[in-house]
């Protein structure tokens, strides 16, 4: 037996690998809202490197803003130019701070509007494949982040937390194919489910064919999913098709938030109904 193992080591390795791969192909393994023990070291290490990359990115962009456009200094104007450079650097730095202040004040305004506790987080990484839309934020279980929490910006919704670790969490963006948000059309009050569509376009489902909806109508969260409070902007209707004999409209909407440009987000801490809390705990187990 031992001789067989030694001789056929490669065959054995390939055999074990294949078994492992087929076990991992089960969707149940990936559905867990917390990282498994075998996933944790890899996820934590790579996300630590992501945070490092993010710091480099921020440092480089700040340096770029402050200095790179000022390097071409003429010798005869050195003193004046140095002074100018210092002032310009200060101005740019202040402008960056002002922009950050504006963004954070927008978030605070939203806080007043939604009356919900929240945690501000920064996006440090993105989904590595092109098939799904997700980001990683720099807040995790230690900051009170739990699966199924809603994530928004001042412009509108971003997504929801699907997986958490100690210091980071994964946010499934609402443009993803797995995403679903309860929405309501502001003008007509028709309620439906907003799902990820093709590319950047979203779909609003289950709006009855007799509803009087128009292009440009604003779609907001309805609050019935216990993830987002009511009244947060999702997007605007861009196309309505009403096929004959169909029960529902076919509706496309364009999101209000530009998901590729967001940096800071708010993670909402809405108390979940006891049934959902119980289901989440069962999932973790």
């Amino acid at each position: 037996m031992f001789r067989f193992v030694v001789i056929n080591k490669k065959v054995l390795v390939v055999f074990l690998l294949l078994i492992g791969i087929f076990v991992l192909l089960s969707p149940e393994i990936k559905e867990n809202p917390r990282y498994y023990l075998f996933e944790k070291p890899f996820a934590s290490t790579v996300n630590l490197i992501h945070s490092g990359f993010f710091l480099i990115f921020r440092g480089v962009s700040t340096t770029w803003n402050n200095y790179i456009d000022l390097v071409d200094v003429k010798e005869e104007n050195q003193r004046l130019f140095e002074e100018n450079k210092r002032l310009l650097a200060e101005s740019l730095s202040l402008r960056e701070k002002a922009l950050a202040y504006d963004r954070l004040s927008q978030l605070l305004k939203v806080k007043d509007a939604i009356h919900t506790e929240f945690t501000v987080a920064t996006i440090v990484a993105k989904e590595p494949t092109n098939w799904y839309s997700a980001v990683v934020i720099n807040r995790g279980e230690e900051d009170g982040i739990r699966p199924n929490m809603g994530v928004i910006t001042a412009e509108g919704i971003v997504g929801k937390i699907t997986k958490t670790a100690r210091h980071h969490s994964r946010v499934l963006l609402f443009s993803d194919r797995n995403s679903a948000v309860a929405g309501v059309i502001q003008r007509t009050r028709d309620e439906g489910i907003v799902t990820g569509g093709e590319g950047k376009v979203l779909r609003l489902n289950y709006i009855l064919i007799d509803s009087n909806i128009q292009n440009g109508d604003l779609v907001l969260t309805s609050g019935t999913d216990s993830v987002f409070p009511p009244g947060i902007v999702i997007g605007r209707i861009s196309r309505v098709e009403s096929p004959q004999n169909a029960l529902f409209h076919s509706i496309e909407l364009v999101p209000e938030v530009s998901l590729s440009k967001i940096r800071e987000v708010m993670v909402l801490n809405i108390p979940q109904p006891p049934e959902i809390e119980m289901l989440l705990k069962e999932d973790v187990r």
């Binding site: 690998l17 790579v46 799904y132 194919r177």
Partner: protein
């Protein structure tokens, strides 16, 4: 020491693939740097090592991905093994041939991902094929060919353990 450098390189590459620093993006389509790496390592190291490296990298990529199943562990393992076989059987391959092979491998991986999504009822056809799988395969092929060309120019030799 050499192993440590390899592990660090691989972790760096995996982090870079999903990083906000990654500049390789055209219309929100990113090339699969892990696929290109696995392919080139498979060519150099042979089918068994290529498959094992592919499975390891795919596994970590799956941990970081929001996908519903561990698929990359399977696809990257296959691509690593396939590259090992190609490295053994094709003598003196050029960058164009490698670009074509990486394109084919990436397209195959994309079709596999699409089949899983069809099976799970999450596919958006034909959008996924024409706007994700094919553009990514072209991007992967082109970038893989350039990386191979760069490696051969630097090393002044064909990157294959079997080539004369």
């Amino acid at each position: 020491m050499k192993s440590l450098v390899w592990v660090l390189f691989i972790l760096f590459l995996l982090a870079f693939q999903g990083s906000v620093l990654n500049p390789f993006v055209i219309h929100e389509i990113r090339p699969d740097l892990i696929l290109i790496t696995v392919y080139l390592l498979g060519i150099l190291k042979g089918d068994i090592k290529g498959g094992l490296i592919g499975a390891s990298l795919g596994f970590i990529m799956d941990i970081l991905s929001a996908g519903p199943v561990y698929y990359n562990v399977f696809s990257k393992c296959f691509i690593g093994s396939l590259a090992g076989v190609i490295g053994r059987w094709i003598q003196n391959p050029g960058p164009v041939l490698h670009a074509g092979m990486i394109f084919a491998a990436s397209l195959l991986q994309g079709v596999g991902a699409l089949l899983i999504l069809v099976f799970l009822g999450m596919a958006r056809l034909p959008h996924d094929l024409f706007y994700i799988a094919i553009p990514q395969a072209i991007f992967d092929g082109a970038l893989g060919g350039i990386v191979y060309l760069f490696l051969t120019i630097r090393g002044k030799r064909t990157v294959s353990r079997w080539a004369v």
